[in-house]
């Protein structure tokens, strides 16, 4: 998957705020109304609505059609794209480190067998 740069930038920008992350964390356990979302925060509903608009623009949250409640729900796809991007990034650098893990295991085994042959250990 290679999401466009603009989409990823929007995702990361939206995630850069702690309130918006808390909203997403709440929505990960199921949809909620603005009132329900605002409850745990020391914030007015309009302030929460502003955060929701940012999340909606980034495609991270969608609103239900029910005119009264307009429940918010989490849209997983942009999050997954962001995670995939980071994972790809980490695996790019991480591959050499995984080879280093293997090498270090081999070095430790060599040292142990050398120690077995020469009791008394390190010189």
């Amino acid at each position: 998957m290679s999401p466009g740069p603009d989409l990823l930038d929007g995702t990361f920008a939206a995630l850069a705020d702690p309130t918006r992350r808390a909203i997403l964390a709440r929505l990960a356990s199921g949809e909620a109304t603005v009132t329900e979302l605002a409850a745990p925060f020391a914030m007015s509903q309009p302030a929460i609505s502003k955060h929701l608009k940012v999340l909606e623009r980034a495609g991270l949250v969608s609103r239900g059609r029910d005119a009264q409640r307009r429940p918010c729900r989490l849209e997983a796809r942009p999050l997954r794209a962001a995670t995939d991007w980071l994972e790809n990034y980490r695996s790019y650098w991480g591959e050499g480190y995984r080879r280093l893990d293997t090498l270090l295991d081999e070095l430790k085994a060599e040292e142990e067998s050398a120690g077995d042959r020469r009791p008394g250990g390190h010189s």
Partner: protein, 162 residues
């Protein structure tokens, strides 16, 4: 600390990339793996890259020269000068790529911290300019997201729906 194997990538300033990784080995061993050519040849390189030449003159002011072979068979030379050599605590050297894909010399500092037989390796890559740093950041995906989002990976894992 039981996060062996997890690589952390952060960008604390606009000219730096910091890589942090825990290894299940004493730090003198990790230090050797970063400074002895016969060991470097066995692991060094990002995804798809391997060392084909590895020369190390391990003294302050001494030079190092690597040739890395990429996934498509292209060879890329890079090298630099050792600035600080304090085994097993600290290693600092400069790096310059032959192809100058980003401008200027970068400074690479490795810190080795050991606890209970495990080593935390923190590598700070300081680039000559923000542009240079961003070019390096863009290698994995050929694009340049340059903002620093510390701990974003963990945070994403937390809110990722199952």
């Amino acid at each position: 600390m039981n996060n062996t194997g997890t690589l952390m990538v952060t960008t604390p300033t606009d000219r730096e990339i910091v890589l942090t990784r825990v290894f299940d080995a004493p730090r003198r061993m990790v230090f050797d793996a970063l400074t002895k050519p016969e060991l470097l040849m066995r692991w060094f390189g990002a995804r798809g890259w391997n060392l084909v030449v590895c020369e190390v003159d391990l003294r302050v002011g001494g030079t190092w020269r690597f040739v890395s072979r990429g996934p498509d068979g292209t060879d890329l030379g890079h090298g630099g000068v050792y600035r600080v050599i304090l085994p097993p605590d600290r290693l600092v050297y400069t790096e310059l790529f032959d192809d100058q894909s980003y401008p200027g010399e970068s400074l690479i500092s490795h810190e080795f911290v050991e606890q209970d037989g495990r080593t935390t390796l923190t590598s700070t890559l300081l680039y000559a300019s923000r542009e240079g740093r961003d070019i390096v950041l863009s290698y994995p995906m050929k694009r340049g997201v340059a903002e620093g989002y510390d701990r974003l990976t963990e945070m994403l894992a937390e809110i990722q729906p199952r």
